[in-house]
Subunit: 337 residues, 6 copies
């Protein structure tokens, strides 16, 4: 099933001649409300448990966003969240992080499930509303003050509504560490302002980030470099990685702003390490190089995402799912306190 | 990721010493209510659209139940519903059924999304409650009188709560055509009364079915045959299929009862035709043999399920997903009016 | 490399402002002439050898047409001809056909290579010209009167120029046995009159065939059936195959016309037997059912094609390549004398 | 590791100038003695257990012969025995045969392990001696009068030493039912008289069989048919299977001779049902067709083999291993009493 | 066949009510004796050849231990030894090591075959006895004083009986270089003291090693670190590898003890380099990093093992088999003299 | 289809008793002439377009040479050229090189198609003539003075005729940077002087190169090192890569000679980065290490090749095709001006 083009549900034109607009609008509104209520209730339950257990000040909270239709090439990332969760808990590895945090402790890692992206689209909800629903879902998690969202994509288009929500909820810009083969900062891709290639243009325009560091770049056009300059992005290309490495393994972010956000596009890794991505771009980071950057990062990480894992391109035994899961695990170690 | 053993979410023991039982119970109740509200609203919206469009008297309505943990061997069927939907709409085949029904007409095929099985389990909901939620979800679909549920499994354990709901909603027993390599009628499997190997024992005990025809059997123990006799099941084994074929290609069911239910376990097919199943049992039906039985079946099909497709065992290009999708398409042609 | 969308060469717009039209036209003409000369010389050499060896009256002659861009879904069939040749000679099977003809005898099977489709497209040659070049290439083979073309596709769009050439060269219509899951008789597909879904509409409009029998159909829309009626096509659907089988295993064609043409779309087979196709459509023929039809066909087969094998969807060990090769082998047994 | 050409051990020329011939010969003799002792002791232990348990008169006894170097094409069948055993006991299917025999009962199915073929070759043992060791091993099993050998190949060359041993041990010829795509009756293949393509020539020359029925043939040369006639073989080709079927599903063998031997080459099946074979030959039997022949076979089956399963060509999830295992299971049902 | 859970043979409870204990015990004893005799004879023959050829003082001797049931997750390593041997001799690479030793010289590399682990288990031999048989087999190799064992696993549980035998045979402790993602030093895993996660606890308790260096660690729990401290293990984690690297590429071991043992768990490598392992743990060593450590290691290597290669998770073309084979080749270069 | 042994066409002995030698010779001559004419015309057309567009002084020109039969092991590289072209233009990556050159500009990258290697062999053309035709084809490209050939292999045997042509056309020796796991400098391999293991022996003997630097070596025999010394080759082995790296990332070549040639055997990369090769040799370069060497190379690159990519061993999603394509893209950036 490699040529997935329309989402899991077939998006029929629902506003046919004999369907009153109000009927559709009201129905959608009720479905959206119910969707958000479900996320709110899951977040509340998890936070109540956490308070009852006591002792935590920040708990990493998984929120899945199974959205793939803003990719320019393949839409498989829509299938990623359940596969990443399965890999986290699959039992082939123990439940400690590399530096010794215990993931089975519900004060370290909890989960509020998925935004029902495909069902919403099947009910005719458009991308403007969908982006708002994603933002709202992130805010519902943060509403519970011990919970910090770690979002499982989905394609990279989701980083825009997530970062927007984080910044709005915290009341100011944040610093972003963005690991990726591509800058994702194009004004629009084939006319789609919500394209996964444009999310960081939307973030910078919105003023949601102060510093944006991009690491792992190796597929960037002239426009990508110009947009980078225009928005004051710090772009680190793989061509000069051996030179930049000591600095990147010693980052300190988030001073004077509301916190640090980490966005990991799985294709920052060389395809040898992460074959399960839509855009195979040789010459990337090794898994250890990514971990060295993350382990040594100093700053208060308030939220994060792991995106663009495409299970439809993974190896039979799910090597990339394990890679995405370990990224989630080690990010959890940085976030939870 | 072939060794999935715990579900997508890690089911932590939530009822720790310092967590008040009421806290957990209340929270679960709110999450369950919100889950059912979401399904009710989706079903209502789809039915409203259908009524506005007019002209249909029965519309096939997909309901996904991504549940895999009642399998004795592999749990991959929990990943099936999005893959089947993708295959239905993937564009490599046209949107007509073999006998000419147009699937893109929303009066023929609609969708109310998935029961959030994994999220409910992650909130500590046990199997007793989960089975009730599945039954309740089916009833919410049938509440809208034009909608007839076609349930996408999931493992075969889901047929019990689905059939129970259909029978209770219609107010009496139904006839069941059950295509499968196994009878799934054991009293319990390794102590689990909800096992995918026991669902039809539960159905027969509950009095939800009058006639139960099992076709495609080729892995059956002495207990399986004895339970069959005990419940008056009509068991057709592959050993005698060439003899039974003319009769099976000319079935008439549902007379004197509330309707006909069709349950298709994808492993009724020979693994040559459907490799993506948990239990590879050579010597099964060809795809055309299954279609011949379904096309020629006479009776009012009130609901159906397609279960036990395991995407983690499918070919790279998703041949079994296409097979499951075509089963859904041709069942839709039988159900919708 | 499953998402091949532009052909092997990137078709640049060559007619830029500062490129004189005559320059391009002249250059293309020289490239086309050289391409045809190469095919003519290969055919001549093979025919000379054949005459020197003596004893044959009709020799099957492979001609590859690696064209995939007229497919609506995947373009992998462009890679098929070398894979089929490799499978014919791979050494895992002996060189006799089922009824005892020896393929290593150059009087039974010869080869004139491929039409350089991709290089021609890279030089800016459009589809109108390309179809003419394919027709011309077939005629160059038939120019050598001992040689009978067996064309290796490519997608099904190539059957139109091939049949046109055969009919024009022989001076009248022929009968066609067409094995396929789809009728390929739509007026045009997404505006493309050369679409692989429209080749038989072009053939019938051109008067190149008298009888057209379509066998294996199981994905056909209302338009497909109406076009069938309009052109007097004999359409045999899989739904009724068990009824039609005795007649189809006893065909006599070609009486009163210039000969018989056999067009085998590999997807006439069930995907269990031939997974390496672009359009997986369960419920097809078994390999033995296809052979039974071919072995028992009576008539003078003047040319044939085997199309729509997609190596990018084949199993690792090339099962479908072996299937396509055996179809070529058994067709050779029918053609060569 | 698909290009295995020398066996698991590298067969060095051990008889170098400065190695006395007697040294090598004595060493080999000691290794051969120890190998046979090990098989004798395993057979004795299993027979003692069987007698202690009581109640059986014939117990199917697995003996693996991991030999692949007499194949003309690929040598993967040398890896088959452990894979077939794993599939028999893998737990994805229950332990009853289709007609209800319980495989977990040690009086139904037992195992004496493998002949250490590769280690013997690595010690310089040549094919003449190796064939004798295989025959001797079979006799050591039959020495225990309750045990009947079911040999797991290995390539088809092993049927010669196995049948020879069975016939010699029983003291006269037997009838053989041989299911295969190929007749394996060539005088020699590329000079190798022990080739897997020649085993039945050796058997017939030795007078070990009275009737030899070959079923499933679809790759046979003129020499194959001539050798068939010469030895009085009853050859049933797939070309006429629909005609021969009623007779083949009603065979009675072994009257007036010492018993019946069944040799199943997995490639008798169409590659759709058994892709894991070295020689993909489309147009074969379905799994159910094979079972129908075996289930209805009347006669006293004294020994059998299942050969030519090549795990290096199997699907990722081992579909062909399951097929080979089910053949073993159903043959066990026929042999054990 | 990815869900192998019981070994190749089905371990039946052999000590049924009516089977006298002495019968079973005597039979097992005879089978064990014959198994050890076979290994002794192979070792003797190889040593005799070696002495006849002359000129060697230490010859690497492969001994396979196909044992997988002490793994906590998958049991595929039981299939590894024949695959590694095949890869060593497969002909896709030349027979020199990187520093120029010729592997085809039987004075450099020889082979005594496999311990028949699965057959022994099928005869009811328990793990206590099995561990003794493995130790005894290693000693039988070392009995021939030119032969030094290089053991092919199997899972990591085999290192305990192997190291025990080496130390006991040499008469004192040795130094161990242990390359692995995991410390394998837990007291017991799920109650199994012979677990592959506990072998180094058993080794240290037994006093068989003086220094134990663990390199490549990246999945270690608190207990793993505490056990490390308790036994004085030198644990080098991947987190600090860039710092430790110069030291690890310049090791000198074995001074004042009986020699050096190298134990290579294939999962010390990053899964990008060795996907065919049971426990995918991203962030490991590159193949060149492992070779740099081995090439520069100074010390008298008296024995070694290569374990945990799982062919059931390897790529289609056996990349990890080639990796395991090259580890064996380069270790051979270090051992043979 | 992994065991391809005879080329795509079956090379029949064409010079049978009754075929006059002159007939064959004349026919071959006409086919060869037509083949070269076709390449000449394609090169002329592309050069004319280039001149019309203006502004370029050197344009990289792809020329495919689909030749695999001089490999000692597998012949899959014969299938590589169309796969590499597809990967270059597949749309999953943008069309800029890492340093910003635009590949869609026809002044940067153009294509003259393939030498029809298989068709020539099928017409009986022997290797002596074939090598001349390859050389002649390269010269036909260079005849157009703006065009610089970048040859797509095929196996490594093609580098000899290509380098010979480049040197002869330029009128003197060149410097060669050769990235490879193997030195390919053996006198002959199994008697074949055109073997892919001998191409650089032929080049050095012919005096076509002044300096030859070999980088990435890790499978080299004594003869390989001796031949290296004999011809004055600068051999850099992976064993010492960490030491040699700074020098290799700062190369300056081509001074005092006619230019620089770069020959990239894809197996210079570690198989983790490039699994799709015939000879898996662990311990190679990372993709970034190769790019660092190429990006920093100073010198006038007059031609290049990318060879030994074997699509029959690639991952399902064509990772190695993407790797080969990126090598072509980045080499294009170095060549075009």
């Amino acid at each position: 099933m490699r040529n997935f083009t329309r989402g899991f549900h077939y998006l029929r034109k629902l506003n046919a001649a004999n369907v009153p607009a109000a009927l559709l609008e009201n129905g959608q509104k009720r479905v959206i409300d119910a969707s958000l209520t479900l996320i709110r209730e899951r977040a509340k339950l998890k936070a109540e448990l956490l308070r009852a257990l006591g002792g935590a000040t920040a708990c990493t909270t998984l929120l899945g966003v199974p959205l793939g239709h803003n990719s320019s090439f393949l839409q498989g990332p829509a299938f990623a969240p359940p596969r990443i969760r399965e890999a986290i808990w699959c039992g082939s590895t123990n439940s400690s992080t590399e530096e010794g945090k215990e993931l089975k402790d519900p004060r370290v890692l909890t989960d509020v499930g998925d935004v029902p992206v495909q069902e919403l689209r099947d009910c005719g909800v458009d991308d403007d509303k969908l982006m708002d629903i994603i933002s709202e879902s992130v805010k519902l998690v943060m509403e519970q003050d011990l919970l910090r969202p770690l979002v499982l994509g989905g394609d990279h288009s989701i980083s825009f509504p997530v970062v927007r929500a984080v910044s709005e909820k915290l009341g100011g810009p944040i610093d972003i560490l963005h690991l990726d083969a591509h800058p994702d900062i194009y004004d629009a891709f084939e006319g789609n302002v919500y394209s996964h290639a444009s999310s960081f243009a939307r973030i910078m325009e919105g003023g949601y980030a102060r510093r944006l560091l991009q690491v792992g770049l190796r597929s960037i056009t002239r426009e990508g470099r110009e947009q980078g300059k225009r928005f004051g992005v710090e772009q680190y290309e793989m061509r000069t990685f051996s030179r930049d490495r000591p600095m990147l393994e010693n980052l300190k972010l988030g001073e004077g702003v509301k916190g640090v956000y980490v966005s990991v596009d799985v294709d920052c890794l060389d395809p040898a390490f992460a074959p399960g991505v839509s855009h195979i771009e040789p010459g990337g980071l090794s898994f250890r190089e990514v971990l060295n950057i993350l382990h040594n990062l100093r700053g208060d990480i308030v939220a994060a995402d792991v995106v663009e894992f495409n299970p439809q391109r993974d190896t039979v035994d799910g090597m990339t799912a394990m890679v995405a899961a370990k990224l989630v695990r080690e990010l959890t170690a940085k976030i939870s306190k």
